[in-house]
């Protein structure tokens, strides 16, 4: 009953809100966005409103029935009384009696009338509550079609009807068929409601609710206004569903509806019809009729096989039908595709020496590893033992764990209940013809869904999580699990297994393959291409689903109100609260756990961490990348190009470009992912020692929160003045802030170290993908080689290589590089230095925590230590050249962005300063800039500039370094000034009152110096950004193709807001990646130069990687830092330089100019004079490619310090 009260309250609420909403001034409206209502009432409102409705109906019915019974009883008794009366007094009725009788008669009549009415009403209600059968037969608008459908006495009724309907010309050609089907434009027409409907139908198909989908389609079709929203795709989806089942009757119904809506069938419709005919084994005549009609509509039979992607089984059914009609038909075979890029010619050349590396594991082991990984992905998540010190298992801890366990069991049951209720309600909605979330809730089993919610609850941080984030997260998880489960259907799993096991023959150490080839090529040769991926759900739908799930949590999860204190009454209170947080102009809905629950979790101190299977490195070699959506994890869907969720433009671009263009990227990513790793156990022990002790900020091991400054203890005396309290508050706030920051750092390290511990004695793989510019990243987020010094030091190549003649020297040089002590010395000097400090190195290796701790002073202490240990072992081995080393040795590009600019512009001075020219000592661009700045400063001193005088002796490499480094990536004067200000602040002797002025002055000089040194760079940057500005102003996002053929588009658009109303609160999201919006000119313009340079450095990395692979090297990269075994460094360096020359020998800017002109200027879509003017401006700009200098690229070949 209380629920009822609540819902009524909530309903009242909504009404008042709506009323007030009308009177609220428009300006305030915006700020109210996202505010639905705090917790409970509104959380429960949609649900309970419905329940109320249902309850109301049920209740009303009950009342009515009771009333009927009562009335019947009453009238009966009255009748009896009457009879008795009549029997007793047979005398002539008096006038009063007559009157009385009349009245009684009237009353009776009235009662009867009421009775009847009530009965009718209750019947109606009963009717309403009873689930109606799903509608199958459509209601058609066109009488002709309807007549056709009603026709009787046909021999094989459905086939003949199909023939008839095929002949009927559509009354009006659909708009979409007339316009050329352009993906992007088509999408613009699709409204949110349509997308919902589409997703609903598709989901019904996958969850086997086809009759429901059909029912909803029929219902919507019979309402004229709704019908307008239905698109050809929707009919096609339902039709395809029936085709798969071989139900011709229903398929014909849909065909009728489609014609009735005035749409003409497309390739997909015909494919469905033919497939169905193939399945029902129909007669030849119908099929021929169908094929003929297809030809009349201008569609080729071949297209069925080339343009549509379908599973083998469906293809067979389709072919079955076609062969009946045309016995000589054979589906076209796709010709083998070869990459034709000039840059990659060598890679894909069939001849020439190739010695692709193999993994250091035998086939049997790899096969077992595959099974393990498969199991892990099927289980969806994995619990990992935490490395945090286990608490003493005393009574409170055990008790807390017990309570928690009991509560969780309760919660699971409650969630099951709520889920079932919700599903029932949604199913009713769908039965009423509304596309509801029902099929989406059926995607996963109830157990899985409850498990997912329990995990979300477990992972909820104590300060709460914004509802938007939570909803998105839950939605994505459901989608991903669903995608994994999809792959388990139709023997796909077995197919994958067989194929993968055969694929391992290419990689294992003890097998042979006929011809050496790249993993992708081998994989492709092993079977048919994969199915197209699941289309991502539209964002609003994802949010809606996620929000529904979150609401269930809020609703179902309860705990006793005196948790943790004495046991008393068992009153239940909610665990989760929907509260609002205020951030300047926004109100953010947050789900926050009850503090007592957080406390309980903390007391229980459970020692396992839960990870999604995609957050953990893989236990077997990743699937090779074969297309923009297949590769990496075995079952979990992974995108080749990562991006913000809901960003479809990259995916679309990748899918529309020729498959061969991507080969370079696909093969590089496969190769990077195939590098096997292991944990450096010795280092892990040492790190854990520090971690479990007190941490160390200096060494990058975050200390535990217990090390945070403690707030003042004790209760304030009652008469403390406000001023003192204000002070206490400040102290408290500070302590809290520090503790929070420490906690988040600590947790990050905890995840990393726990994963490392978990993988300690194993070999694992880091699958890679790339961002939109082609830079590569490992997919598992917590533990990978891209992280900090600490993370990098924990990783080693699983494969070892003997050091060989030069390996030890390279190890030593690497060691010195890591210390950062001899940056400006020659390699020889660095080696000499290493030999000189050998004692310290050995001491560090032997007694890292107790000795002289030389390694701790290095720039990268943990990596230095790892290297010290490696050097020590190598030196002490009987034959250092035979020592098997697993340590990756790095080679860093010196200011890689500027290197690319200098090469593009053939800047001689610039090239020399970033080591493109051979020289005896490494050049240091930062020092040179600093020197140049110093020259300018001296001049100003002469002019009597005060700041210049103040800065005497303070201009150093360190002050300008960060700014110079980031200039290539587009740092502005503003950002540059902040960087310099930070550096100046660190200088104790610098007069702090001049900081602002000095930083302002310095950043100007730095920019001026750079401009002189890299004049070509400046021109190129200007050209790029001006072109981008014009392209963006013409209404396009900037697109280009990297030298390796990867298509790039900049995802910067104007914000678009979409609202997901209803539920616990309405959610408003902003998206900047919506390609239907106009491009954001500022971002497009500012982003183009750095993004373009990034796409070049990624191309350089990919070329180097592929060539190294061909030479049998192990190679990984952290953007412009390349790693390989010590023995292979000379080979890698040579490849790296050659490929840099190779890359820049291409007419890169010229190619870019040609591409942009072709893409944007050739077919102006508008005839407005202003736009044409803009385009002609653009064309002129693009034609004037910047002039280049006279630097000779070939010199790079001999530059020792190019990458060092």
């Amino acid at each position: 009953m209380s629920a009822l009260c609540w819902s009524r309250g909530a309903a009242g609420f909504r009404r008042t809100l709506r009323l007030s909403g009308c009177t609220r001034p428009a300006a305030l409206e915006g700020t109210m966005v996202g505010l639905g209502g705090p917790r409970r009432s509104s959380s429960a409102s949609p649900r309970e409103l419905d329940r109320r409705k249902d309850w109301g109906l049920a209740e009303l019915l009950e009342v009515l029935e009771a009333r009927v019974r009562q009335l019947q009883a009453e009238s009966l008794s009255e009748m009896m009384v009457k009879r008795v009366k009549v029997a007793q007094a047979p005398t002539v009725p008096t006038r009063w009696e007559q009157k009385l009788n009349q009245d009684k008669q009237k009353m009776q009549n009235r009662q009867q009338r009421i009775e009847k009415r009530l009965q009718k009403h209750s019947q109606k209600l009963a009717q309403k509550l009873k689930p109606r059968p799903l509608r199958l037969e459509p209601q058609l608008l066109s009488e002709e079609l309807a007549g056709c459908l009603q026709q009787e006495g046909l021999q094989s009724p459905w086939e003949e009807r199909l023939e008839q309907v095929l002949q009927k010309a559509s009354e009006k050609l659909s708009v979409k068929m007339q316009a050329p089907p352009d993906d992007q434009e088509e999408e613009e027409h699709v409204s949110a409601r349509q997308r919902n409907m589409l997703a609903f139908l598709e989901c019904c198909l996958t969850t086997d609710h086809l009759p429901l989908a059909h029912h909803v389609l029929v219902s919507q079709h019979s309402m004229p206004r709704r019908r307008q929203l239905l698109t050809l795709t929707m009919y096609n989806i339902v039709m395809l569903g029936w085709a798969r089942k071989g139900s011709l009757k229903e398929l014909v119904y849909v065909f009728f509806m489609m014609k009735d809506a005035g749409l003409s069938p497309d390739l997909l419709s015909y494919a469905a019809a033919l497939q169905c005919l193939g399945r029902v084994n129909s007669d030849v005549h119908t099929i021929k009729r169908c094929v003929k009609q297809m030809a009349q509509d201008g569609l080729q039979l071949q297209q069925l096989f080339t343009d549509l992607a379908m599973p083998t089984e469906e293809r067979a059914a389709l072919l079955n039908a076609l062969l009946k009609a045309q016995p000589d038909f054979s589906p076209p075979q796709a010709p083998p595709q070869v990459n034709t890029s000039t840059l990659l010619k060598d890679i894909y050349a069939q001849d020439g020496p190739t010695s692709y590396p193999r993994l250091p594991l035998p086939l049997k082991t790899l096969q077992d590893l595959f099974q393990e990984q498969l199991r892990m992905e099927l289980e969806a998540n994995i619990s990992v033992e935490s490395v945090e010190k286990a608490p003493k298992l005393d009574r409170p801890v055990l008790e807390a764990r017990k309570t928690l366990k009991a509560l969780r069991a309760q919660w699971e049951a409650a969630l099951h209940r709520v889920l079932q209720e919700t599903k029932a309600r949604m199913a009713r909605e769908a039965h009423q013809g509304q596309p509801s979330l029902y099929p989406f809730l059926c995607l996963l089993s109830e157990k899985d869904l409850v498990g997912l919610l329990m995990q979300a609850l477990q992972a909820l941080p104590s300060q709460g999580e914004s509802l938007m984030f939570l909803a998105h997260d839950l939605g994505i998880r459901v989608f991903n699990r669903h995608a994994v489960q999809q792959k388990q259907r139709n023997h796909q799993l077995q197919e994958l297994e067989q194929r993968y096991l055969r694929y391992l023959h290419l990689l294992a150490s003890d097998t042979q393959v006929a011809t050496p080839c790249l993993p992708r090529q081998y994989w492709e040769a092993l079977g048919a291409p994969d199915m197209p991926p699941l289309q991502p759900w539209p964002m609003p739908l994802l949010m809606k689903l996620g929000r529904h799930l979150a609401e269930m949590l809020v609703q179902a999860v309860e705990m006793p109100h005196n948790l943790g204190t004495s046991q008393g009454s068992r009153k239940l209170i909610p665990v989760l609260y929907h509260v609002y947080s205020f951030r300047s102009f926004r109100q953010i809905g947050i789900l926050k756990p009850h503090p007592a629950y957080t406390q309980l979790l903390a007391t229980a101190a459970e020692s396992t961490l839960n990870f999604e299977s995609t957050d953990v490195p893989m236990l077997c070699p990743p699937l090779p990348w074969t297309s923009s959506h297949t590769g990496a994890f075995l079952l979990n869907p992974t995108k080749l190009m990562r991006g913000v969720d809901g960003n479809l433009q990259h995916q679309r671009l990748l899918e529309s470009c020729p498959a061969t263009d991507l080969h370079g990227a696909l093969d590089t990513l496969t190769q990077l992912g195939n590098c096997a790793w292991r944990v450096n156990g010795r280092l892990l022990d040492l790190v854990l020692e520090v971690f479990l002790d007190k941490g160390s900020v200096r060494l990058g091991v975050p200390p535990p929160v217990s090390e945070a400054p403690q707030p003042p203890e004790g209760v304030l005396p009652p008469n403390t003045p406000p001023a003192r309290k204000a002070e206490v508050r400040r102290e408290l706030a500070h302590c809290l802030k520090v503790a929070r920051e420490m906690h988040s750092l600590r947790m990050e390290a905890l995840y990393r170290l726990s994963l490392a511990q978990h993988l300690r004695s194993r070999i694992f793989w880091l699958p890679h993908n790339m961002d939109f510019r082609g830079r590569t990243y490992p997919c598992p987020p917590h533990f990978n080689h891209l992280g900090s010094d600490l993370a990098r030091s924990l990783l080693q190549f699983a494969e070892g290589r003997p050091l060989g003649p030069q390996g030890l020297d390279w190890l030593k040089i690497h060691l010195v590089n890591l210390t950062g002590l001899k940056k400006r010395e020659s390699l020889k000097a660095r080696l000499a230095f290493a030999n000189q400090v050998m004692e310290d190195i050995l001491d560090s290796a032997d007694r890292p925590m107790t000795g002289k701790k030389w390694w701790m002073k290095a720039d990268e202490p943990w990596q230095t230590l790892a290297c010290c240990i490696e050097v020590a072992q190598a030196v002490r081995s009987p034959d250092p050249t035979a020592y098997i080393s697993h340590l990756p040795v790095h080679q860093d590009g010196s200011c890689n962005g500027l290197q690319h600019y200098a090469a593009l512009g053939r800047d001689s001075i610039g090239a020399a300063s970033v080591n493109l020219l051979p020289s005896d000592l490494p050049q240091d661009v930062y020092s040179e800039v600093a020197a140049k700045v110093e020259v300018f400063r001296r001049e100003d001193v002469k002019k009597g500039v005060l700041v210049a005088q103040v800065l005497e002796g303070f201009i150093s490499r360190k002050v300008v370094k960060q700014t110079v480094m980031t200039v290539v990536y587009g740092v502005t004067r503003y950002g540059g000034r902040l960087q310099i200000e930070k550096r100046l602040r660190e200088l104790d002797s610098f007069p702090q009152e001049f900081i602002w002025e000095a930083s302002h002055y310095l950043v100007r000089l730095v920019f001026k110096s750079l401009q002189e040194m890299f004049s070509g760079t400046r021109a190129i940057q200007h050209w790029l950004s001006e072109s981008a500005r014009l392209i963006s102003q013409a209404g396009y996002a900037v697109e280009w193709v990297t030298p390796l053929g990867i298509p790039v588009v900049q995802p910067y658009h104007h914000d678009v807001k979409y609202q997901v109303p209803g539920g616990i609160q309405s959610i408003t999201c902003t998206s900047t990646v919506d390609s239907r919006q106009k491009p954001n000119t500022l971002k497009q313009k500012n982003g183009f130069p750095p993004n373009f340079i990034h796409s070049l450095d990624s191309a350089h990395m990919m070329l180097t990687a592929l060539h190294c692979y061909r030479k049998g090297l192990t190679f990984v990269s952290v953007h412009d830092c390349f790693w390989t075994h010590a023995a292979d460094i000379p080979v890698m360096n040579q490849v790296c330089r050659e490929q840099f020359i190779h890359l820049h020998s291409q007419p890169i800017l010229q190619d870019l100019s040609t591409f942009l002109q072709k893409r944007f200027c050739d077919n102006p879509r508008s005839h407005k004079p202003s736009e044409r003017l803009l385009l002609s401006q653009l064309q002129n700009r693009l034609k004037s490619v910047p002039q280049t200098g006279d630097f000779n690229l070939e010199q790079v070949k001999h530059s020792k310090y190019f990458f060092s």
């Binding site: 008042t16 007030s20 109100h561 503090p595």
Partner: protein, 398 residues
């Protein structure tokens, strides 16, 4: 809850002393719209990729525009100045300490000095300072002139503190002002005009400091005498009887201070000058609307009994949060809000306080809010958790 972001209004200067042109010329290059847009964009980011702005060698420095000037109003009529002087000083003529914000030409300063008060002139515009200093020549050091912007005292985030931005601690120390305990008298009076575009922001900032006993309120119950626009005045003094304007600021403000209206001055006594220096009718609709309103001269004295055992400078942020939460949906019942604010049994609280369960938030007086807050804060025996709020949830207002 917050007003719409104002566009850049035309410059307004009010001057009887000097030609309007002179005032205009003092203003350094105004912020361009573009620079502002660029500034606003800084915080945006994609999921992992920072927007990479293009390096523009000739780019104007955006830092300047941020601190860019805004039009200011000054007291220029001697008559008005006299009235204000009387209102300000009341009976306590001698020895009163008055902090005058942006005195500009110093008309009021002169009046105040003549009546024997000690005046500290905080002037943010450097150009006025020599003139102001000349006023204090023969007053035995009764006038201190400091280059300082009162409304930018104690910034929360600022890399470099340099005049006119100052820290109140250093300022007051240099002026030799001592702190008075909260329960005692008024250490000093402040006179000023709220900045046109940021009335509300400035008000919020002051209230935040007041509750936190921070900034100027570190020195006791500082009395503010301020000119404020009509709209803000109405908001500040709204009660449940005027539901259209009743909002968070009204509650927070009235709980903290006594608000007293001293004087009304029509806007029309202020002229609006365009850039060219000519007197023009403003085109901006918002400004012309403003022009039809009055300026309200109000006095804000912090209440002696603001802080109690349950509402203190330690927990005031919870109070702020509570009020903001409630006004997020002012038509909802108090019960409804309390359920999202506190895990304590809300019905119980309302029953104890004898408040009806259906009482709507916008029918509660400011005092009611304080009482409800204090009641929950003083609840005992219902577990240690009184609020769901924690201070990572809201960004503080300044």
């Amino acid at each position: 809850m917050w007003g719409p972001a104002a566009g850049l209004p035309p410059r307004r200067v009010q001057s009887a002393l000097a030609g309007a042109g002179r005032f205009c010329l003092w203003r350094p290059g105004a912020a361009t719209r573009r620079a502002r847009a660029a500034w606003g964009l800084r915080g945006f980011s994609d999921s992992y990729l920072q927007p990479l702005p293009y390096l523009d060698f000739e780019e104007s420095f955006p830092g300047e525009s941020r601190l860019g000037p805004e039009p200011k109003r000054y007291i220029t009529h001697r008559g008005l100045a006299r009235t204000l002087g009387q209102l300000l000083l009341g009976r306590t003529r001698r020895g009163a300490l008055i902090l005058e914000c942006n005195p500009g030409p110093g008309i009021l300063t002169q009046v105040l000095l003549e009546s024997g008060a000690r005046v500290v002139a905080l002037e943010s515009e450097r150009a006025f300072i020599p003139h102001l200093e000349s006023l204090g020549k023969d007053t035995n050091g009764k006038l201190d002139v400091v280059h300082c912007d009162f409304f930018k005292l104690d910034p929360k985030v600022c890399e470099v503190i340099k005049p006119p931005i100052m820290i109140s601690k250093t300022l007051f120390k240099s002026l030799g002002i001592k702190a008075l305990p909260w329960s005692e008298g008024i250490p000093l009076k402040v006179f000023g005009i709220f900045p046109i575009k940021h009335e509300r922001k400035a008000l919020w900032k002051l209230l935040y400091h007041l509750y936190a006993c921070n900034s100027i309120y570190r020195y006791g119950r500082v009395e503010l005498n301020m000119f404020i626009g009509e709209r803000e005045y109405q908001r500040l003094t709204a009660t449940p009887k005027s539901p259209d304007t009743y909002q968070v600021l009204s509650v927070i403000g009235q709980v903290a201070c006594e608000v007293k209206l001293l004087h009304k001055e029509p806007w029309s006594s202020f002229d609006v000058y365009a850039q060219s220096g000519k007197l023009e009718k403003p085109k901006n609709k918002e400004i012309s609307e403003l022009m039809e309103q009055n300026m309200y001269f109000i006095r804000l004295i912090p209440r002696k009994n603001l802080f109690t055992e349950n509402l203190t400078p330690i927990n005031f942020d919870i109070f702020f949060h509570m009020v903001r939460h409630c006004f997020g949906k002012p038509n909802a019942s108090l019960l409804h809000h309390l359920r999202a604010l506190s895990p304590i049994d809300s019905k119980e609280i309302l029953r104890k306080m004898k408040i009806s369960e259906t009482k709507k938030v916008n029918k509660m007086s400011p005092r009611d809010f304080k009482q409800v807050f204090e009641r929950i804060e003083s609840m005992e025996g219902d577990g240690p958790y009184k609020w769901l709020y924690d201070d990572s949830m809201d960004d503080s207002l300044v």
